[in-house]
Symmetry: C2
Subunit: 315 residues, 2 copies
């Protein structure tokens, strides 16, 4: 949990592998003596990394992409190829994020025409601290801010790890957005008393039917948004779309130790806790999915055609 945010986990995994390979060439030589070659050594590392965090698809996809690069390289140039790719990933993440922000802002402003702009609610941290530097859901807020069209933004605290209060609030504060920190439990009352036009959240995995795994609390927020007639958008890189999973039922949810909740909430030491790190928001609660390739909306049948969207935009 020291490195968090689905896009950043993937980038850090590849960066870490790069550092590992360039600083441990002697280790590789040693390991490969007579037994295995550099590429096999790398494949083993990648297999380990792929399974280290189960819920986000980005890490899995990053390893698949890297596999292609390793396969096309020789034992002699594979390390250089990985380092070059890590640098490329960093740049691509920022430019993809900026495209997400731009598509999201365009879409929101097409309906929400108050002269001061759009009122947002977000959960967890999806900003420059969860990506290589701009943000996905928070990137939409940043783009609106750049256009002077961010009327307000409320950040949910995001228990039990407080990514909202520790990270998003920090970004909102330093970016001088008109932002407010609220507890997760205040979402409904906030929407009622203060109002918002849209919730924008990140994603760890979007399934073929649009069901979305994201930070725990997203499902709560989506139900409340629907009940209050507030739009609910998922903003995430195109690679977060996982057409291999039919629905959210197939997403593995990482459960974390009770200790995280006990320590931060002053609960009895041996209290039984349930601490899923993520939840699954059913597609029915989602208004649209914002990616760097455009905004996916529901069809006339009321369903997301994620497979069609991925096919159309895959190069």
């Amino acid at each position: 949990m020291r490195i968090r945010g689905a896009p950043l986990i993937a980038i850090v995994a590849v960066l870490g592998l790069s550092v590992d390979l360039t600083s441990n060439e002697s280790t590789i030589s040693h390991l490969t003596d007579g037994n295995t070659d550099t590429k096999t050594f790398i494949y083993d590392k990648m297999t380990y990394l792929k399974t280290s965090r189960p819920t986000a698809v980005n890490l899995f996809n990053a390893m698949e992409e890297l596999k292609d690069i390793v396969e096309k390289s020789s034992n002699d140039d594979v390390v250089t190829a990985i380092v070059t790719h890590a640098q490329f990933m960093l740049k691509r993440d920022v430019s993809d994020n900026k495209a997400i922000g731009s598509h999201g802002a365009d879409d929101l402003l097409s309906r929400h025409t108050h002269p001061d702009g759009v009122r947002l609610v977000t959960i967890c941290n999806t900003g420059s601290l969860a990506t290589a530097g701009w943000g996905t859901a928070l990137g939409v807020a940043r783009e609106l801010q750049v256009r002077s069209k961010l009327r307000s933004i409320a950040a949910l605290e995001t228990r039990p790890y407080n990514q909202g209060s520790r990270l998003t609030a920090y970004e909102i504060y330093t970016e001088q957005m008109n932002g407010t920190l609220i507890c997760d439990s205040m979402a409904a009352f906030y929407l009622k008393r203060k109002g918002a036009d849209a919730c924008v959240v990140g994603a760890d995995r979007v399934c073929a039917n649009g069901d979305t795994a994201n930070k725990i609390g997203t499902y709560n927020l989506s139900i409340i948004a629907k009940e209050m007639g507030v739009e609910f958008f998922v903003a995430s890189p195109f690679t977060t779309l996982d057409v291999n999973l039919k629905s959210g039922d197939e997403i593995e949810i990482e459960e974390r130790p009770a200790k995280e909740m006990i320590d931060s909430g002053s609960a009895p030491k041996n209290m039984s806790c349930w601490n899923p790190a993520f939840d699954v928001t059913p597609a029915e609660y989602i208004t649209g999915i914002i990616t760097e390739k455009g905004v996916l909306k529901k069809g006339p049948d009321g369903k997301f055609d994620v497979i069609g969207f991925v096919k159309k935009h895959s190069s």
Copy 2:
């Protein structure tokens, strides 16, 4: 916030006044010398107490009840009358709580007939630490536990003050209930994955139309319960019913300092926060209101007749 729980606030106010009056008789003599009498001194204290916490009606009602007692007493016997009344309030609170638990358990068990009993979700602390000794919403859980019919109970952490993790979890743990602590943000995912038959929450004030003020997060939970088809009960003393307020729009909501959220969530020191201590759950999300005089359900028109219920049961 050192004394919390709507019923307990009222009791402690009267107990505190008793202590104040018995230990400061010289002060009263001094104050009353030529200027004012004991009863006037007491009325002043009561006026102050009445306005010290705005949201819960119990404190207000306790002061109204006390006013009658003071009015009927002379300057000589008023202190004794107040002390006697404080002792009576303590006993009455426990017996009322036990009646709430009993009515609530009867009602729930009439529909939820699993051999292991009922699965509950609750928020904040409404147990022996919020009352004189048994509990309102948590009193229902205790009664089910006594009958070996509490299949499970989930306690919401209840940010930002963590009454759920600090107090309710403690009561669940020491009472050896089959309980689980979850974050406020996990309610929807908990209902989906683990299931529950009913949410039972306390109340600070119930209006004539059934709108209910309670700890912040109750409104969130009620929307989620409705969406997931889970019953949602308010359990509170009969005196919490306030027929003088037509609807929740008329309830004053106490807002508390940002510091409470900033410190406990590690947010930037000057971050703007919104920290309402309570919210209002509209009657449409409430299945029934459990009091010591019985369970109020909606009529054929889908509405609560709180005024009729109060008239019928007022002695």
